[in-house]
């Protein structure tokens, strides 16, 4: 995953602010100025005569090998672009999901004539761009370099080397990319949305996972390339400062030798929306926002009779800057979200509808209510004249402005060719927009908007949100998925009769060595190592039970973090400075000074609750929720058999929102009659779990008081 974000980070010193419309408040009057004489200012001027719209021309021919050539001449600037588009049917990748995309990326990593290094150097030398994908290639350059570019482009498309070393490098990059987006709620939503809309029986429903990427072999990629990269299903779209006949000559020269062959085509069953609303949930423990997608497949193509009406209708519902129904309701009126929109996407095989927003946990259910309300409203109520006019004008203008770019004309030509549309399709587009009536909008809404047979996908905090949304499901039950798309069956484990939170905590204390042995522990001094990325940090923890605690973490000899609690006062130190602790943070550190917290919840005002019996890593564990008098609760898991604590989940505020931290305890060893975990694994904030290993632990030794001193 390329961090182009960075480049944008630099550009962001230019703060691009989309226009914000505030509430409509009556004008406050200001001082009258001289320009009261200039009352032409008091009204918007009217428009001039509408300019004639020039659609832009293109020429189209077919080469002997079946390659279709589309040329859009535009001599304004001395540049030219070439798009090679391989129009193959999507295929099912199944256990090797992701190999088709990898094939595309592989093409540019070497040919029979050139290494990657040579390709990159040659492209950069002429100041060009060249990229490849599973659907072909794209290149652009100044016109004097066009033959060099075509030489390179045809080389990568026609003679890829499929180099093993480059393949391994690419695999690594893909895995990094998946790992980096694993916790990204929008990436999760996108994948699961595809899955529930289209199912695994359809190529649109597949997405790569770490496992599937590992399964990919070079053979998969070679085989895909050899089967599908053929000229007879492909287009070469040439745009820019070039004459059509020269383009034809060059196309024949560089791509004429590309041999045609039969290419298998594939048909799939048409995915259907669910019979009744289907609530699907992906848990992101600790999330404070829900990503909501109300979504289902639709049968909508560019060539559908009501395509234009459907677009107008969708813009009224979920488009516009702030004028769409969804924005007006969920943002302007209710302030549930920063943005609520809808998309209605046509596709030659199967399209989809998606109404979406990210909202805070507490209003997830209310937001769904409002989404469904607006979806019903547009089905039942005719749109107001004002809204319809605004959307039509906006679409009109947007279309007209898009004609400034010759690429627009090229893409239109490509669509007409691929989908067999009438040649005047785009010319008529504007006329059609103009002719759309309120009745057309209503009819399109009734065809395409389905508030009663939608997938309601939520990526969010299961503990806080799931219970409140099951009633939206037609069967009042939620289907849970994990990020990889596997259904997660909520544990059917029954808590045995007589087991309570008290018995669970007592068993834990017994397993540790018993309350008496624990009470004999006066002080603990331990040192541990932590592997963070490729860095090793040293940790030292000192406790004088019950009221002194100090922990430092060092890296490269420097103290990276330090926390100290001393009899009512607490301090935290980081390279950014020192801070005296108060409130919840102080209370939490105070509890740490007891060390064996489970003996002290009552007196500290904590409440505990036995939530469930769950499976953790194949073994049963009791899930206990621990809530402090104020602040965030945490969740503890105790192995049902041994009684020992094996996991702790807590949530902390990060700069990007809450972060869930998971601590797994293992390898308990006895010291002075009491068990301590020698190994801990911390996961959550980073892509790889952090291993913590206790190096040394001493109990009831003297600890120098300056360890706990707090300097102000």
């Amino acid at each position: 995953m390329k961090y182009f974000i960075l480049l944008i980070a630099f550009a962001f010193t230019l703060l691009h602010c989309s226009p914000k419309s505030g509430e409509k408040v009556a004008e406050t009057s200001s001082e009258m100025k001289e320009e009261s004489k200039e009352n032409f200012r008091s009204q918007a001027p009217s428009a001039g005569p509408a300019p004639a719209l020039e659609m832009g021309e293109y020429s189209q021919t077919t080469l002997d090998n079946g390659l279709q050539l589309i040329v859009v001449e535009n001599h304004k600037l001395p540049r030219v672009s070439f798009q090679l588009f391989v129009d193959s049917d999507p295929i099912l990748e199944q256990d090797q999901a992701g190999y088709v995309s990898m094939t595309g990326n592989l093409l540019k990593t070497g040919t029979k004539n050139r290494s990657k290094e040579e390709i990159d150097e040659a492209v950069d030398f002429i100041g060009a761009n060249l990229s490849t994908s599973s659907r072909g290639a794209f290149g652009s350059c100044l016109v004097q370099h066009k033959e060099t570019l075509l030489d390179l482009m045809s080389d990568v498309v026609l003679h890829p080397a499929f180099n093993q070393e480059e393949f391994e490098k690419l695999k690594k990059q893909e895995l990094s990319g998946i790992s980096a987006s694993k916790n990204n709620p929008n990436a999760i939503a996108s994948n699961i949305r595809s899955l529930v809309n289209y199912s695994r029986e359809h190529p649109y429903g597949e997405f790569p996972t770490e496992e599937s990427i590992e399964n990919i072999s070079m053979e998969n990629c070679k085989s895909y390339y050899n089967t599908y990269f053929k000229p007879n299903i492909s287009y070469l779209v040439v745009v820019g400062d070039i004459k059509a006949d020269e383009a034809k000559q060059l196309a024949a020269s560089y791509f004429g030798g590309w041999e045609s062959a039969n290419v298998p085509d594939h048909e799939y069953e048409m995915p259907q929306p669910p019979a009744g609303n289907n609530v699907v949930f992906v848990d992101r423990p600790g999330a404070v926002q829900s990503v909501i997608n109300i979504t289902y497949p639709v049968d909508l193509k560019l060539s559908s009779e009501d395509y234009v009406a459907a677009r107008v209708m969708n813009n009224i519902l979920g488009g516009g800057v702030f004028s769409g129904y969804l924005m007006q309701n969920l943002r302007e009126d209710k302030a549930f979200t920063y943005g609520a929109r809808a998309s209605l996407s046509p596709n030659s095989r199967v399209g989809n509808f998606n109404a979406y927003a990210s909202v805070r946990n507490e209003v997830t259910d209310s937001s769904i209510v409002e989404f469904l309300y607006e979806m019903n409203r547009i089905r039942n109520e005719k749109v107001a004249d004002e809204n319809l006019e605004l959307v039509k004008n906006s679409m009109n203008g947007s279309f007209a402005r898009s004609l400034e770019r010759p690429q627009t004309v090229a893409q239109q030509a490509l669509s007409i060719a691929r989908y067999d549309l009438p040649k005047d399709f785009y010319e008529n587009y504007l006329k059609k927009i103009e002719s759309i009536t309120k009745e057309d909008v209503l009819k399109a809404a009734q065809t395409y908007i389905k508030p009663e047979s939608a997938n309601i996908l939520i990526v969010g905090n299961k503990d806080e949100v799931a219970e409140k949304v099951d009633h939206f499901d037609a069967n009042a039950s939620i289907t849970f998925f994990n990020a990889e798309g596997e259904e997660v069956v909520a544990s059917a484990n029954e808590i045995p009769e007589g087991t309570t939170v008290a018995t669970v905590l007592n068993k834990y204390i017994e397993a540790l060595g018993g309350a008496e042995s624990i009470r004999k522990i006066r002080s603990i001094a331990m040192e541990f190592n932590m592997e963070v990325m490729s860095m090793t940090m040293k940790g030292k923890r000192y406790v004088e039970i019950p009221n002194k605690f100090a922990e430092t973490m060092e890296m490269n000899g420097m103290v990276a973090q330090k926390q100290v609690y001393n009899d009512g006062e607490g301090m935290a130190q980081s390279p950014q400075g020192k801070q005296m602790l108060e409130g919840d943070e102080l209370a939490s550190l105070k509890l740490s000074a007891h060390y064996f917290e489970e003996l002290h919840y009552g007196e500290m005002g904590y409440t505990t609750e036995l939530v469930a019996l769950e499976s953790i890593d194949g073994k049963e564990a009791y899930k206990v929720k621990v809530t402090p008098p104020s602040g965030n609760p945490k969740t503890l898991f105790f192995d049902a058999e041994s009684g020992l604590k094996i996991r702790e989940l807590s949530s902390t505020e990060g700069q990007q929102g809450p972060v869930t931290i998971t601590l797994d305890y293992s390898n308990y060893e006895t010291v002075e009659g009491v068990k301590f975990p020698m190994e801990m694994e911390l996961s959550g904030p980073m892509p790889q779990p952090i291993q913590m290993k206790t190096q040394k632990i001493e109990v009831n030794t003297e600890i120098s008081p300056e360890v706990f001193s707090i300097e102000k």
Binding site: I5, L6, T13, R41, K76, G127, E404, G539, P685, M686
Partner: protein, 437 residues
């Protein structure tokens, strides 16, 4: 040599083809007007660039310039709150604005027959935008949300802030355009009115229009809507060039909610109009322009040390920074990444780049140059920018010459002169250490 001559000749011919023609004049009230006509375009871009940015702010009133960008969508004496963008949408157009350290820029992209609407809208803003408590209150919370979303909640979102605040200690470049929320809260209605009256005046602005227009009609409308806007009375304050060079290396570590460490190095360089700026920009291309560039090839491709790495010559009106930025791959020590980044910089200091590499740079720049004038929106902004900062709008056609006149020796020299390890800011962005509690 022949190769270079051939390229030069072709470029010269291309220059003729792509010259952007325009008319330019100044109104009595000081407003600079620039018009570019293109009858083949279906659009017209109407824009105003005000010569005010975050560097014009007081040290205890930062964030004003950007805040005003928001306020100027709120409404004017003749445009009700909430209506400004509706006028544009209804007319089939789109609009936006942006603020930087040095200027604030507003533009509308409209169908060709709506030029007068665009002029009316921008004249309304300039003449009598409504700056009152209601608008100020509304936008305060909006801007706070914006800061949270764009800066505080973004991985590496604070990099620029942390870099600039160390590279500049006296000059206003030390703070970001978004400014301080406390300052915005503390400001009074008087402060805001004063800012508007000082900076939002015709003699501090450029009106730049490009697209399908009729020159004579456009001039008439410009006179009608902008001619009677009074010149500003107040002196327009500009900060002193008071920042000394860095005298040492400033090195710091910042812990952030990120997954991969990042290394940022910043070197002080001259302002964007200085002749050395162009050499430094070409140096950036040597280091990171394209996959065959020195840093990309070695660091991202061959040694897989980073997910991304680049050098960028950030030129502003008063000063500039040359910034190296790398994001380490999983398991890579940032100091290892830094060492290799430094090595590549040293190479450029010690050896001239090859003739072929030089030609590559020029070719890359020429491609960029042609593309930057591909749209009416781009042309309008470039005309305004070249006039405002270089005093010469015709650089829209000539700027490439400044690059062509940089030699290989210049590139080596500027690397030696400005990219000095003893005088720079170095930041490590590291993932926050584990919280074991």
């Amino acid at each position: 040599m022949f190769l270079l001559t051939a390229f030069g000749l072709i470029s010269a011919i291309q220059a003729q083809m792509t010259d952007v023609e325009f008319e330019q004049y100044t109104l009595d009230n000081g407003l600079e007007v620039i018009l570019h006509q293109d009858k083949s375009a279906p659009v017209v871009a109407v824009s105003v660039m005000y010569h005010v940015g975050s560097k014009n702010e007081d040290t205890d009133r930062t964030g004003f310039a950007h805040f005003f960008e928001h306020l100027l969508f709120e409404g004017t004496e003749n445009i009700e709150r909430g209506e400004f963008d509706k006028y544009v949408e209804r007319a089939g157009g789109t609009l936006n604005a942006n603020t930087s350290f040095d200027r604030t820029y507003y533009y509308e992209l409209l169908p060709a027959n709506q030029l007068e609407l665009g002029l009316w809208l921008e004249s309304e803003r300039m003449l009598h935008a409504v700056v009152d408590e209601v608008g100020i209150e509304t936008q305060r919370s909006v801007v706070k949300e914006e800061k949270r979303q764009r800066v505080d909640n973004q991985p590496y979102g604070t990099v620029m802030q942390e870099t600039f605040s160390r590279a500049f200690q006296k000059h206003p470049y030390q703070w970001m355009p978004i400014g301080s929320m406390e300052h915005l809260d503390a400001a009074s209605e008087e402060d805001y009115k004063n800012f508007y009256e000082t900076f939002y005046v015709p003699n501090n602005a450029v009106l730049s229009i490009a697209g399908n227009l009729d020159i004579e009609q456009a001039k008439k409308w410009v006179e009608k809507y902008f001619g009677t806007i009074p010149r500003g009375d107040n002196e327009i304050p500009t900060p002193e060039l008071n920042e000394p060079s860095l005298s040492r290396e400033i090195r710091d570590t910042i812990f952030d909610e990120i997954q991969l460490p990042a290394v940022i190095q910043a070197y002080r360089i001259p302002e964007q109009t200085h002749p050395d700026y162009y050499a430094l920009d070409l140096l950036a291309t040597v280091l990171s322009g394209g996959e065959s560039s020195r840093m990309y090839k070695r660091i991202v491709d061959d040694e897989q040390l980073a997910l991304a790495v680049f050098n960028f010559a950030f030129g502003l009106e008063h000063y500039g920074l040359s910034i190296n930025y790398g994001i380490a791959n999983m398991g890579v020590d940032p100091s290892n990444l830094e060492a290799v980044m430094d090595e590549e910089v040293e190479k450029v200091k010690n050896e001239l780049i090859t003739e072929r590499e030089y030609q590559k740079l020029i070719n890359q720049k020429e491609s960029q140059f042609v593309s930057q004038n591909a749209s009416m929106a781009g042309i309008a902004e470039n005309l305004a920018t070249y006039h405002m900062f270089h005093g010469d709008a015709n650089l829209i056609n000539d700027i490439i010459q400044k690059y062509r006149s940089v030699s290989r020796e210049d590139i080596r020299r500027v690397a030696q002169e400005y990219l000095n390890q003893d005088r720079r800011v170095v930041l490590y962005y590291l993932p926050k250490p584990a919280d074991t509690q």
